[in-house]
C-alpha cells in the first residue's frame, strides 16, 4: 500500500494514509463522474465523424464530387432570402467529408441556428431534415441549444473530473505502470479480469485521455473564462478579449447603409492571392448587405496542420480589412486553435479520426471496468442496495446508450425523410430507447444478462444499418457501423462466456 515516486531525482514515499486518500478520490471521482464521462466519450467517438455523419444522415446529400458552380451562384440565393439573419452567416465549402455547400444562419425570427445545404452542381437548396449528427454532438457537450445551453459548462466540470481521475490513477499505479502495460488475465475471475482491463486500457489510453480531458475542459470553459478575464485584463472590453482568444469573429461595425456585395468568387480569389497556399474551407459573413459588411475566408495552409489562416474582405469593394495566420496570431489564439484541432481531430485525415474514435471507445471501457471493479470490491465486503442501484445504472447508461445510438441510426433510415416530424422522431427514438433501457435494467436483477442482451441487440442493429442503405450508396460510414456492430457482438460473447460472479 505504499508508493515510491521519483520526483526531482529523489524518491518520495507516500504514507499509507495519503495513498488511501488518493485511492478514495480516484474511486469516488470514477463512480460519480464515470457514467457521465462514459456518455461524453461514447458520443465523442461518433462526433469525430460529425461531417461524415452530417452527409450520411440525409441520402439527398450524397452528392458525387463533380464540377462545382461558382460559389456566388450557389450561395447568393440563400443569403438574399428574407428569413436569413444577416449578422452572421457561415458557409462551409465542400471537402473530403462534405459534398454539399452548407449555409448556417440564425433566422430573422430568432431562435437557434439553422442549416441548409446547396447542391454544388445544380444549386438546388436542400433543407436540413435530420439531426442525427447534432443529437450526438449536443449529448457529447451535455447541452441543448434552446433549453440548456449552460450544459457545456457542466461538461467542462466533468472534463476536470476526468483529469483528476487520471492524475490520481497515475499516482496510485506509478510504480507498476510499465508492468501493467502487458498484464491482462482474461481467464481469471471477473474481479481480476476487469481490474486488469481497466489498468491496461487506462495506461495505454493515458495520452489520449489526458489530451481529451484537458482540451475538452478548455473548450467548455473558454467562453466563461473570457467573461471572467474581460474585466481585469481587457478593462471590460469583451470584443478585445474575444479577439485575443478566437480572432476577429465579428468584423467591422454596422453602418446601417444597405449596399450590394461584389462577386463572391472574386473575393475568395483575392483571399487566396493574399495568402498563397490558402485552401478555403469556411466563409464567415458578418453583417451581409451592410456597407461595412465583410466576409472572412478561413482555410488551412501548408506547414500549419492545426492552425487556421483567415483573410477578411469588405463585401462592397473587396478591400482587405484583416488577416490572421498562425505565425502572426497571438499565443492565446494559436493555443485555442491547437486545442480545438486536437480535440475534434481536425488533422491527419480519416486515420486520425479512426484512432480518436477507438481511443474514445477504449476510454468508455476504462470507465465501465473501473466502476465494475469498485462495485465488486464493495459488494464482496458488504452487500448494499446502493451498490445494486449503481450496478444497474452502469449497465443502463453503458449498454443503454449503445442501444439508443443504434436505434437513432435506424430511426434516421426508417422514418421517411419527407415526414415533417422526422427530426423529432429521431430525438424521441434516441432518448426514448435510452429511458426504456434504464427502466428495463432497473428491473432485471442479472447485470450479466442485461449487458449481454443490450450488446447483442445494439450490435445486431449497428451491423445491419448497411442493409438499410442498400438502395443508396454503401459508404465509409456504413462499413464503420458494420465493424462496430460486429465488435459489440464479440463483446457480448465475451461477457456471456465469462464465468462471472456478477453478484451486484
Amino acid at each position: 500500500m505504499e508508493l515510491r515516486a521519483r520526483l526531482g531525482g529523489r524518491a518520495v514515499k507516500l504514507s499509507k494514509h495519503a495513498f488511501t486518500a488518493i485511492w478514495d478520490v480516484h474511486a469516488w471521482v470514477g463512480v460519480w463522474a464515470g457514467l457521465v464521462l462514459h456518455v461524453v466519450c461514447f458520443t465523442g467517438a461518433f462526433c469525430v465523424f460529425r461531417d461524415e455523419l452530417g452527409t450520411w444522415q440525409d441520402p439527398e446529400l450524397h452528392v458525387s464530387h463533380g464540377e462545382m458552380r461558382p460559389i456566388g451562384q450557389l450561395v447568393r440565393p440563400v443569403l438574399d432570402r428574407g428569413d436569413v439573419g444577416r449578422a452572421r452567416i457561415d458557409v462551409y465549402l465542400p471537402d473530403e467529408e462534405r459534398s454539399t455547400v452548407d449555409v448556417r444562419y440564425v433566422p430573422t425570427s430568432g431562435g437557434t441556428r439553422q442549416m441548409v445545404h446547396v447542391h454544388p452542381g445544380t444549386g438546388r437548396v436542400i433543407p436540413d431534415r435530420s439531426q442525427l449528427a447534432s443529437i450526438l454532438f449536443h449529448v457529447h457537450f451535455l447541452r441543448h441549444d434552446r433549453w440548456f445551453p449552460q450544459g457545456i459548462y457542466v461538461a467542462g466540470v466533468f472534463g476536470v473530473a476526468m483529469a483528476l481521475g487520471l492524475v490520481t490513477g497515475v499516482v496510485i499505479h506509478f510504480r507498476k505502470i510499465l508492468r501493467e502495460l502487458h498484464q491482462f488475465r482474461g481467464h481469471k475471475r471477473p474481479g481480476i479480469a476487469w481490474a486488469d482491463a481497466h489498468k491496461v486500457l487506462a495506461v495505454f489510453g493515458l495520452p489520449f485521455q489526458t489530451m481529451a480531458a484537458f482540451t475538452g475542459a478548455m473548450i467548455c470553459f473558454g467562453p466563461l473564462l473570457l467573461k471572467l478575464f474581460a474585466g481585469p485584463v481587457f478593462h471590460g472590453d469583451a470584443k478585445a478579449a474575444e479577439r485575443t482568444l478566437y480572432g476577429d469573429l465579428s468584423g467591422l461595425a454596422v453602418s446601417g447603409q444597405r449596399v450590394a456585395s461584389i462577386d463572391l468568387d472574386q473575393l475568395v480569389a483575392k483571399a487566396t492571392d493574399t495568402l498563397p497556399g490558402l485552401s478555403p474551407t469556411v466563409l464567415r459573413f458578418a453583417n451581409y448587405g451592410d456597407a461595412e459588411g465583410s466576409v472572412a475566408v478561413y482555410g488551412k495552409r501548408e506547414g500549419s496542420p492545426l492552425g487556421t489562416s483567415m483573410v477578411r474582405l469588405r463585401l462592397r469593394d473587396g478591400a482587405i480589412v484583416g488577416t490572421e495566420t498562425p505565425r502572426a496570431n497571438g499565443p492565446a489564439q494559436n493555443i485555442e486553435q491547437w486545442v480545438r484541432g486536437l480535440h475534434f481531430a481536425k488533422y491527419g485525415g480519416w486515420t486520425v479520426r479512426i484512432f480518436h474514435a477507438l481511443s474514445g471507445l477504449a476510454a468508455c471501457l476504462t470507465i465501465l471496468t473501473g466502476n465494475w471493479v469498485w462495485l465488486l470490491r464493495r459488494e464482496s465486503r458488504r452487500p448494499r442496495a446502493s451498490n445494486r442501484i449503481l450496478s444497474r445504472l452502469t449497465v443502463a447508461v453503458g449498454g443503454g446508450l449503445c442501444l439508443a445510438t443504434a436505434v437513432l441510426f435506424w430511426a434516421n433510415r426508417c422514418i421517411p425523410m419527407h415526414v415533417p416530424l422526422h427530426m423529432l422522431g429521431e430525438s424521441v427514438a434516441f432518448f426514448g430507447t435510452w429511458a426504456l433501457s434504464l427502466l428495463a435494467c432497473l428491473f432485471v436483477p442479472s447485470a450479466r444478462k442485461s449487458w449481454t442482451a443490450l450488446l447483442v441487440v445494439s450490435g445486431a442493429l449497428f451491423a445491419l444499418v448497411p442493409v438499410l442503405d442498400l438502395r443508396h450508396t454503401i459508404g465509409k460510414v456504413d462499413v464503420a457501423l458494420l465493424v462496430f456492430g460486429l465488435a459489440l457482438l464479440g463483446a457480448a460473447r465475451l461477457v456471456h462466456t465469462v464465468k462471472a460472479s456478477w453478484s451486484t
Binding site: 502495460l181 481467464h187 495520452p207 486520425v352 484512432f355 465475451l494
Partner: protein, 105 residues
C-alpha cells in the same frame, strides 16, 4: 495504404515488445526488442514522411495506444488470432500498397 502499413508495423512492434516482456520469459527474447525498436522507428518514419514531424509523432502515439491496448487484451483471450493479425497485417498492407498504390484508400 501508407497509414495501414505504418500502423501494421507499429502493431507488430508492440507484439514483439509484448513477447519480449519479462513476464513471459522465452528463448530469443533478447533479439525481439531490437527488432521491435527498428519497426517502431520505421513506422515513425512512414508517419513523418506522410504527415510531417508533429502530426507524424502524434500518429505514432495514437497507433501505440490503439495497437497496444487491442493486442494485450486480445492476445490474452484469442492469442492465435492476435498473433496471426500482427504477423500478417504488414505483409497484407505491403501487398495492398504494391497492388493499389500509395494513395489508394
Amino acid at each position: 495504404m501508407v497509414d495501414l502499413m505504418a500502423f501494421s508495423w507499429s502493431l507488430l512492434a508492440f507484439a514483439l515488445f509484448h513477447a519480449a516482456a519479462k513476464r513471459y520469459p522465452r528463448p530469443g527474447a533478447a533479439y525481439l526488442r531490437p527488432m521491435a525498436i527498428l519497426l517502431t522507428v520505421a513506422s515513425l518514419g512512414i508517419w513523418i514522411r506522410a504527415e510531417g514531424a508533429i502530426i507524424g509523432s502524434i500518429l505514432l502515439v495514437f497507433s501505440w495506444i490503439v495497437s497496444g491496448s487491442a493486442f494485450v487484451v486480445s492476445a490474452a483471450v484469442w492469442p492465435r488470432v492476435a498473433w496471426a493479425i500482427a504477423l500478417a497485417l504488414p505483409w497484407l498492407a505491403a501487398l495492398g500498397f504494391l497492388l493499389r498504390g500509395a494513395h489508394a484508400p
